[in-house]
Subunit: 340 residues, 4 copies
């Protein structure tokens, strides 16, 4: 299927090119970029093969294109994504423009009205593990944020199984630096990141309403979470550590049972015996989960580890595209990660 | 004052040598080591001046020594520390042998009876910010663990001020690798640590009962916490992120007010305006704290950042020694940290 | 073709599994290990798919196996490799046992006689870019060391083209830590590697005679080099920086011309316009090269960057296997690298 | 002595504040900055004590100031430094404006005429180990670049002792990222530096003429070097690896003998038994050196390791100031480095 990647010059765009190049059914024939248009792929992503491919201007006028991935900064997908979908292109937006489902929720999270409020309920939330059916029938999919992906893969099954009380859910997450994108910011210099750890966007990160929306939709009741993201000195990977009061007489086995059953139904989720490490998923679309009961406080502690650029971005978008196109959900996503 | 450092070859021992060498009143005249005895200081700590000083055998027979720091693995301080104190030496133990205050608590945490149960109540818990008075009168001090130091410097003042409910206190902490010491372990190889993050000792870390004991003693009521430590790819630094339900109508200002008042009474604690970064304290005895109220869930989120080897180990031990010896609390601890 | 990977538990072995799993013609049906035999692949390489595959004992008795990769410590390949080859298996040894071509050279480099001296001249040196023909006809191939691979890909074409004088060739190389393997060594702890750089094995590294042998064979005259390897704080990658007096009136263009012509004949070598970065090749079998003339000293400076575990180990072994088996040289090696 | 630090907001400026704060005779009473003027020290250097000190505008009108350190970008010291010196202030310029000794050499290195050509021969080159006498009598000192410092501390004594031939001197150096300063550059982002190594400024780095000038002046004959700097993923530290043909029948002992004799006369230079590691000098003003003879090629390989921000910048500037002011050369430079 003829595929466009719009926003090919960022980290997420680079991962899309890498993964779509290895996909058996998707064929990248258009690479779009804003300020980097006119340069070659190799100039912005020297690690990829086929570096002489040209980056073209951003446009919705892409005759013949059947699938389009958008990997753009917040606010730049709305018009373009809607226009592409209007022309019959299956669109997967990796940005945040269409993730929240109502104009109110969007306004509340972003402090401004959505530019195309009528469009919002036409976009499916693209986390296959929670909303596979709606993605399969969609031609517009908003791929989830990286933190929500990690958090939801542990939180949603535990909530759905009634394992946790939902009044004191705490999500602490630790991310590698690529999650912040490729922008030139002083706080992302090597000298500002290496050998240090910090929380950021405390109480204000926009992935919190996204987590709340998705888990609430999944289980059918309104759930709030406290969410604190942290930046750790590594390129890739997110670890979400979730803490919540156990619901009644839960055991460690029942925690792991709920996670394991969820994993059994999802090809990219795996329950393991140890605390998951981000190093074990870097480069692949896998999510590793585990959970514990702390008997001293009757608290559940669960973790999920993903690669923020793969399962948290490009890989997940391809997973959604596979479902939208009637392909095998795992098509093009079989490559192993790397270690060390 | 004539000082011995027993266990000089580890990371904590190295920091003790570095800091005591710059101390105006303490004079290191004995460096003790187990397997490294007979080697020079320079062979085990090539970064220190005076590398030709010899590491001597471990012993309690140290005539003339007035102050002894013990930086030994768990289980190796008990006999030696007690013997030194018996001879009138002021002893500061950086290990975990004397931190817990009762034989029961020790048995429960370590799964074995304490070798010298009668000794336990003779040792003061050496966190000056909480227990300054008792340290000033002590000749036996157990310096706190690194995680408890970070956690308590934010948790204790908020608890004492009645800012938080104590039924769902969650402590998530992120530590650099030096916290695990200098042992030869496969999981501490560069290839196993670099570019990854992981939780460990989930529900079982022995610093949890230590945190609970100290905060409970400080506020006078029994408090439990859920504690999850994480290893991040950096040498030094601990960030503790604490989440707890707000007690009633708390505001962000009242959170910061409680932390600020605590900081005002403690020379090494500083309330800052941003989320504290470990990079800002590395190398110094400072602790940076901050706190937030999340209005969406009426939850308090507070953070403390320390250098695990300085405020979390050697610096704090010297701070306690200063108090024990009637010196200025900050003596020898004035060196700034480093960045980058 | 039925394939065995013997020594699957190390870093090189893990990369072999990763790459052979994606190979269109090779099919891994035996994974051998020494001390890790009996464990699963997932226990030693949690990043790979198919983690339930079992590691089996090391043996030469592998009925049906057509191709065997050996990724073993020095000294452990000789008997096993010879035995496998004797049974008609095509053997690619990633270790150093068969790289040097004569008993004398081996004795001189390793300080001991070779255990199977008659075997040495039966093994082809597996650097396809220099010795493609002999590899195509071989059933025993010794894959080059990681440093020689990087050094030779820039040094050999410049020497062959008469661009450099060969009396003062200096090779300085910088390697990530995975080049030292997965052994439990104090000098490979995170605390000993992170945030530092050092030379090692100065004047004594065994890759020096290997470089000298290969470049001498390639150009047909005896050439000596000075070689200094350095360890830098990263997982993967080697950068070789080569300095040599220019031969007569060489220009920057002629330096790059010689490298470019070499690259034109080799699918995995690419001449680029900037100093090559290891980050651009990590994860792939590519080698990036570039060269300069320093007019102030009439000196040539050339560089090559590779991933030590791919082009410097597992990828190159597969490249050689492809040639040995009559497959396309690039089969199974098309995956792009990753960045960041 | 009343001291000003002009350019206090960069990395070098921060180290100056850290070290002068601990100096027994220098007292910082003026902190100057360009764009950061008006902010507090703590806002730009959160790791330092006394963060409420204000950054003031840059000016030469500093009544009462006796010593001024300038830590400014290239081109910004010339006017200011000359004006301060004219007013009788002892000036130590950490920048490159006054390092080269003649207008021609400056023009050749920087491609533009020096703004104050008559000023050049009034400035002493501030490497105490080579030019202690001239620094002692100077009131204008240009502190050396970081690479020249590392290179010269091994190269100069070997050259002076006649240990090496000087026709093929090769200096390869590896630097941490702080050497590039604190500027906002895409190639200094964490995502562009972490986990990779690269050469840069190949054949064109301006520290090359500086190395040549200084070693030539020291030994009294004109010497050229080939110099290739590399960027490695760490904050601090430079390792210079120098290769040169041995002069006649040199031995490893004579190499080390020349380095050791040089070290004996210089309090901050130390000959060690192993290849020096940058981790062993980070944070201190020490330089560690070692040297080898490679008998196979009759080549000398020597190394020096320094902290680029201390011995390569702020520490060295203070060392020079001590000499200029008649203080003990080591005053204020006694702090040990740190590890890990």
């Amino acid at each position: 299927m003829k595929t466009a990647i719009l926003g090919a010059s960022g980290y997420g765009g680079g991962e899309l090119v890498r993964l779509v190049d290895g996909h058996p059914a998707l064929d990248t024939i258009y690479l779009g970029a804003h300020s980097q248009a006119g340069r070659t792929l190799g100039e912005v992503h020297p690690h990829l093969w086929g570096g002489d491919r040209l980056l073209s201007p951003m446009t919705a006028d892409l005759p013949g294109i059947e699938v389009a991935f958008l990997a753009l900064p917040h606010g730049e997908s709305a018009e373009l994504g809607a226009a592409l979908a209007e022309r019959g292109v299956k669109v997967i937006d990796l940005g945040s423009d269409f993730r929240l489902d109502t104009p109110d929720r969007y306004q509340s999270a972003y402090g401004a009205p959505h530019p195309l409020p009528d469009e919002l309920d036409r976009w499916a939330y693209g986390l296959p593990e929670l909303f596979r059916e709606s993605i399969m029938g969609a031609d517009r999919v908003a791929a989830p944020g990286c933190y929500p992906t990690a958090a939801l893969l542990a939180l949603a099954p535990l909530t759905a199984a009634g394992i946790i009380e939902t009044n004191h859910v705490v999500v602490n997450a630790m991310s590698g630096v690529s999650g912040a994108g490729r922008a030139l910011r002083a706080d992302l210099l090597f000298g500002a990141v290496d050998e240090g750890v910090r929380a950021y966007a405390v109480t204000t990160h926009r992935h919190r309403p996204e987590i709340e929306m998705a888990v609430s939709d999944f289980v059918g009741s309104r759930i709030s979470v406290t969410f604190t993201p942290h930046l750790v000195p590594m390129q890739r990977g997110i670890l979400a550590t979730i803490t919540a009061p156990a619901a009644g007489s839960v055991t460690g086995s029942s925690v792991r049972g709920a996670l394991g059953e969820f994993a059994d139904h999802n090809p990219f989720v795996e329950l393991i015996d140890e605390p998951p490490q981000t190093r074990w998923v870097v480069g692949s679309n896998r999510a590793l989960v585990n959970g514990y009961l702390d008997p001293a406080t009757n608290t559940v502690i669960a973790m999920a580890a993903i690669d923020n650029l793969v399962k948290g971005a490009a890989g997940q978008a391809i997973q959604a595209a596979n479902l939208m196109c009637g392909l095998d959900e795992t098509a093009g996503l079989g490559a192993a990660g790397w270690m060390p």
